[in-house]
Subunit: 244 residues, 2 copies
């Protein structure tokens, strides 16, 4: 991993761009470190760091305000990263299904999401290795948002992750539901109830599947991108309970 | 309304028993009144004030800590209040259904819940009239918990109620779902996901029906009586947003 740019944000937070091999990423660290080692949030997203940068910075500032560091990396096939032919085909098939007004088939969802999970999860683990090797950043780890199938797999396979705040707003393969049954860390799931393009029933099925003794579903109104501010605050309290 | 007993609780909160006609009730008022007029929480419950007293006091202290007053009254047919023959019959039919291992029919639910709503709602409104006539207690009103069909009806018909925190853990007649469609005040619904005796699907249907622009469902683990402490805190923040 090497840093390629550095900005000091108004709040004294240090925002650093980095490359992990060929994968771009951003690391935010708080100005003071009341918690030592500093807990780390993995900020998930739907892909496209450049486009999402200001939204990600906003989410990161919520974490740094809690005394946490935050990190994100680009998804496979997003931004400037190469898209595989099969991912291209799956996206085209998804668009056809949507423009024909039908629900995408399980097959399309599997082809779209499962290879992404297979590729992204080891990349996030490698990013975690690199960040935790930096001084003071080896604290407990949380995941926040992003493609829920990736978050679920990470919650299952990565023992350094202590708590998962997931956003039930992306496609859920059946495989992910099976994996959720074996997840045992605390889980806080946000669902936008009136997100018309989201499969609410599948989201409820996924929440039901999580094997965690502590799991919370919070459903709000406001459409896909309209998560209300108080929901962000409730999620922040979830992470405070489990990472500090 | 006349007061029949008075206790000063440790926190300086005044707890007063009263009779409203023949209906027993309890009023809690905070030691200081930073908010003027003081917001008032209507504390719902499943019936049986004597048995529930310490739990209700605990909930009331959460409200008084927020600077709110809190009030509750006995339900029709509970505690020392007379039970009608038809309510007795409905309870017997419910017990038969449950001990036969079957879901109670819509008919049993209607006979059990609808007359209770019809009788209880005007009683809560009368209690509200009486409390708001006391000095300083005419602030905004919230409902918290209790029989969800009563809370939903109150949210629909009582314009002084500004926010409803409901507990989806009691029987929901279809009538209640229809009424929910016309509710427009902010609603915060708690659901215990692993409450095996609760009809989760019906609870989700009720949440879906609420016509409110702001509505939140929070589902947690812990069984019927195991609402986690953080859920109480989240509900308190919901009331703080809407009553202060």
């Amino acid at each position: 991993m090497h840093f390629t740019a550095e900005t000091r944000l108004d709040e004294g937070v240090l925002e650093r761009d980095f490359l992990l091999g060929e994968i771009p990423g951003i690391l935010w660290t708080p100005p003071e470190a009341p918690l030592s080692p500093v807990p780390l949030m993995l900020l998930g997203h739907p892909g496209g760091l450049t486009r999402l940068r200001s939204r990600l910075s906003g989410r990161a500032l919520r974490s740094t305000a809690q005394g946490f560091a935050a990190v994100t990396i680009e998804l496979p096939g997003s931004g400037a990263r190469p898209v595989s032919a099969s991912a291209e085909q799956a996206r085209a098939d998804l668009r056809s299904a949507i423009s024909a007004g039908s629900k995408p088939s399980e097959d399309v969802i599997d082809r779209l999401i499962l290879p992404l999970v297979e590729q992204a999860v080891p990349e996030w683990q490698a990013a975690l290795d690199a960040i935790q090797a930096l001084p003071g950043l080896s604290g407990p780890v949380g995941i926040s948002g992003g493609v829920i199938a990736i978050g679920t797999r990470l919650a299952l396979v990565e023992p350094r992750i202590a708590a998962a705040g997931l956003f039930a707003g992306s496609y859920v393969p059946r495989t992910t539901i099976e994996e959720a049954r074996r997840v045992t860390i605390p889980v806080h799931v946000l669902l936008q109830w009136d997100d018309v393009e989201n499969d609410r029933q599948r989201a409820l099925e996924l929440f039901d599947a999580f094997g965690s003794r502590e799991k919370t579903l919070q459903a709000n109104m406001g459409g896909h991108t309209g998560v209300p501010p108080f929901a962000g605050e409730d999620a922040a309290r979830f992470f405070a309970r489990h990472l500090t």
